[in-house]
Symmetry: C3
Subunit: 129 residues, 3 copies
Amino acid sequence: MGIEKKTYRSGPYQDFYCEATQVGNVLYLSGQIGTDQDGNTPTTTGDQTKIAYSNMQSILARFGEDMSNIVDETLYVTDMSELFAHIEDVYGAREAAYGRAPEACQTVVQVAALVQPELKIEIKCVAHR
Amino acid sequence: MGIEKKTYRSGPYQDFYCEATQVGNVLYLSGQIGTDQDGNTPTTTGDQTKIAYSNMQSILARFGEDMSNIVDETLYVTDMSELFAHIEDVYGAREAAYGRAPEACQTVVQVAALVQPELKIEIKCVAHR
Amino acid sequence: MGIEKKTYRSGPYQDFYCEATQVGNVLYLSGQIGTDQDGNTPTTTGDQTKIAYSNMQSILARFGEDMSNIVDETLYVTDMSELFAHIEDVYGAREAAYGRAPEACQTVVQVAALVQPELKIEIKCVAHR
């Protein structure tokens, strides 16, 4: 249909989906998790959040974008009470990533499980330019 | 990157996220819950739905939009069987909010928990103008 | 507000929501499930995935679009371990539907329940043209 997309692929499953797909002014990102480039996943929600945003920033940079382009976030967590117990760490990591009060919506739900059992948070977002 | 957004913030956590972010023709809304302006949350799914849509309408109005601008909805519920037990109340509240058969998609999933234990439904939507 | 939408409705609940809503270049689809046109739902995740993508293709075709227009997917599953146990079937069905490596993002979460107890997967996606 002639739609022009720019995609970014990474990791062992890169034949199956993209980490990000840009079409027109919109950049969709796959849910980002708290596993770093070396495959390590820290145990706390705050540390996982930090890595998830770091991964997000790396992806945005590949499209010439940054956190200011994010307009909508969905946070999938596995334990809402743990999230709130560490909310300062989580929002601290978030604010550090954005560098300012985020101009982005946010929806937070507790799911039954994420793709790997050690994950406590996954952040799915949409960016516009 | 020079992206122009219009945002609406409200409530105690307004430094951390926006209730709505408009960019170009698209208006993203954070998930809306059944807690009213005075902080009260009714117990039934139907009543919570009514308030969630009312909150949504207030936000849309701030951008000069209304329910006819909604194109996509995700309903996160905490008890699917209770949702269906009260489906007439829920769809009644929804139809009253839209004022007609909604020209919007809808995806309904049961999550493990919402941000507060008394919540039974959260509605996340996207509007276009 | 004069927003121009093109919608597609189907099934017993078509007064309440649309299977798809197109606005500008964007086509939003409601979450698609593994129930076929005759109301049958196979038991395996792989077979349900096949039908969900088939339903998605039918809807896209009504708007002159196809799988190449999909830019973002959210997979809601009810059992992550079962998903991975049948991941070859699921990704096989997916690759068959796309006809190539999908140029689409993907977010996978395990929810507590879908709209009917026999469902194991629901796929919600966004297409652009």
